[in-house]
């Protein structure tokens, strides 16, 4: 059995959302949806797995906090600080914990810096977005005002086109793909 790719174009995100729900309730698998902007509730309607970005953010934040702590410990207390003790405001400069309030801003900034930058890099890595990456969107109009739903179905399936039409697709393009 050969398969075909269906590209259904939608004009409105609400119609798209309804259509996604309808098609999924009929036990079709949606390959991908391309949209010019994030659509609220689409991830839920598509049944995508919950993102683990929050967990990575927490881990990166912890790394940043530790890095900031170690950095300031080296600079002010143990390494450089031992050779050139700096008397700032008469504060004790031999212990970490007595100086902690003045180190908090540095550790906080490192936490934010690490969490923010490493999250962006993780995002690019997961989405395979590197310099010079080519677009995966099959239709350039999805960067403007159209929404595209991609399905892969059996070649003989005629039902799906009807469902797509009835749920408000403004344009349906089919393409056969060779059996491997």
């Amino acid at each position: 059995m050969s398969k075909k790719v269906i590209h259904a174009i939608f004009d409105d995100e609400e119609i798209l959302l309804q259509s996604v729900k309808e098609i999924r309730s009929k036990k079709y698998d949606i390959e991908e949806v391309y949209s010019p902007f994030p659509v609220h509730g689409l991830d839920h309607a598509l049944g995508l797995k919950e993102t683990r970005m929050a967990i990575t953010a927490f881990i990166y934040g912890c790394i940043g906090l530790s890095f900031g702590g170690l950095l300031i410990y080296y600079i002010m207390i143990s390494g450089v600080g031992k050779s050139w003790p700096m008397n700032i405001g008469g504060k004790p400069n031999f212990t970490f914990y007595q100086n902690v309030p003045s180190f908090v801003p540095i550790m906080f900034e490192c936490t934010v810096l690490f969490a923010g930058h490493l999250m962006s890099l993780t995002y690019f890595y997961r989405n395979k977005l590197y310099p010079g990456a080519s677009t995966k969107s099959p239709d350039p109009r999805t960067t403007d005002d159209k929404f595209l739903m991609e399905l892969i179905v059996e070649d003989s399936d005629k039902e799906i086109t009807k469902i797509l039409k009835s749920t408000g697709a403004s344009e349906i393009n089919e393409k056969n793909i060779e059996d491997e």
């Binding site: 929050a54 908090v104 801003p105």
Partner: protein, 396 residues
């Protein structure tokens, strides 16, 4: 329409009774400590009720849709404002009559040259810190606040009949709210200088107004959230979906962090600069053994508990997590309110004790009594509000 259940009614009455007994006992036992207890408990609930007004005003000005379903909750909370304001004005007048000694600068002779207790620095502040101007300012704040609260409540009811954007009630709501927010931006800061910061007369912090505002926001959002959860559990507010609760949880989380930020900014700069006239404020709180534990404890739980408990998305949608975090935040900020007043008025003989707790419970009982009563006076769900549908289908 909300209907007060018998147990809720009984609970509020029992709490009021506890409060009355504690108040009478406290005033007979040690009236100086009793006045401090009264002012800090009153301040705590004043913060909650004035923040409800600010919340509603903010939603109007921002034309925010998400909160429409829960609009009646802050509207009910703000009905407690006149009571706390009345107690505040009473405390101010009592201070002027020297019934209490909360405000050190009101002492007789402190500003007259040659008097034994003459204080040059305090005398230099006479243009601002004099009893008559103090009273006039206080009255202006509370009158405008109460007036705006009443107007916003009336407009909300009128909006139920009219509905739609651009109608009389909609535009009026925005106008009143905008004026209120401008006034509140100045008056919340000034009120916190007057009522709280002037207790430690020599000391001042330019951050103080924001610090108090962040505390009001944290306890205000927490209270709104708890009322919403309670009403939902009782079977009211059925339109209240998880996303709105999630958003409220975010606010509680965010303002706990903002509070910590303000607390730490104020602390760190003073600690670092180590200037004698500035550090006195923290010396009293850290060096005196009766406040040291409370000081670190309240700062820690107000930050650590909401951060750890409410950090993840699932926790902000989980009622039990929210309730635990909210209750801890309220207790933490209640202790912190004590620390705003007590070290300045009671110095080394202040102890957070059962009478303070009893008075706090009394205020809580009165708060329940007034707020639940006012919840019954109007429908819990808004009608014909232009953003009602958006709120019902909020999705985050």
């Amino acid at each position: 329409m909300y209907k007060i259940s018998k147990s809720t009614h009984l609970l509020s009455l029992v709490l009021i009774a506890i409060g009355l007994i504690s108040t009478v006992y406290a005033f007979i036992n040690d009236s100086h400590a009793a006045w401090t207890s009264l002012i800090f408990n009153n301040y705590f609930f004043l913060g909650i009720s004035i923040f409800a007004v600010f919340f509603v005003a903010l939603q109007h000005v921002a034309e925010a849709g998400w909160s429409t379903v829960i609009k009646r909750v802050p509207e009910a909370i703000m009905t407690f404002l006149p009571y706390t304001c009345a107690v505040m004005i009473f405390i101010v007048i009592a201070a002027m009559l020297h019934w209490n000694h909360i405000y050190h600068w009101m002492e007789v002779g402190i500003m007259t040259e040659g008097a034994p207790n003459y204080d040059k620095i305090i005398a230099g502040k006479e243009a601002y810190l004099n009893p008559i101007f103090f009273l006039v300012r206080s009255i202006i704040y509370v009158v405008v606040w109460i007036y705006c609260a009443k107007r916003l409540r009336d407009i909300s009811l009128q909006g139920d009949l009219e509905g739609g954007i651009g109608k009389n009630s909609y535009n009026k709501g925005i106008t009143v709210s905008a004026w209120f927010i401008v006034f509140f931006a100045v008056s919340s800061s000034m009120a916190s200088w007057d009522w709280i910061m002037s207790i430690d007369t020599h000391w001042f912090s330019t951050l103080f107004g924001w610090y108090i505002f962040s505390e009001w926001s944290a306890i205000g959002f927490t209270t709104i959230l708890l009322f919403c959860l309670f009403l939902k559990k009782q079977g009211y507010l059925q339109d209240l979906n998880d996303s709105i609760i999630h958003d409220l949880g975010k606010w509680v989380f965010a303002f706990s962090v903002v509070w910590t930020y303000m607390w730490f900014s104020q602390f760190m700069l003073i600690w670092y600069a180590n200037i004698p006239e500035e550090v006195t404020y923290f010396m009293e709180r850290i060096e005196l053994s009766n406040y040291r534990f409370l000081f670190w404890f309240s700062a820690a739980i107000n930050f650590v508990v909401p951060t750890i408990v409410l950090m993840s998305r699932d926790a902000k949608r989980n009622t039990n997590f929210l309730i635990v975090a909210s209750v801890v935040i309220l207790i933490g900020h209640w202790i912190n309110s004590y620390l705003l007043f007590a070290p300045g008025t009671l110095h080394d003989h202040g102890h957070l004790g059962l009478t303070d707790l009893g008075m706090g419970l009394g205020f809580l009982g009165l708060f329940f009594y007034v707020v639940f009563r006012s919840l019954t006076t109007r429908p819990l769900s808004v009608k014909h509000h232009p953003f009602l549908d958006e709120s019902k289908h909020l999705h985050t």
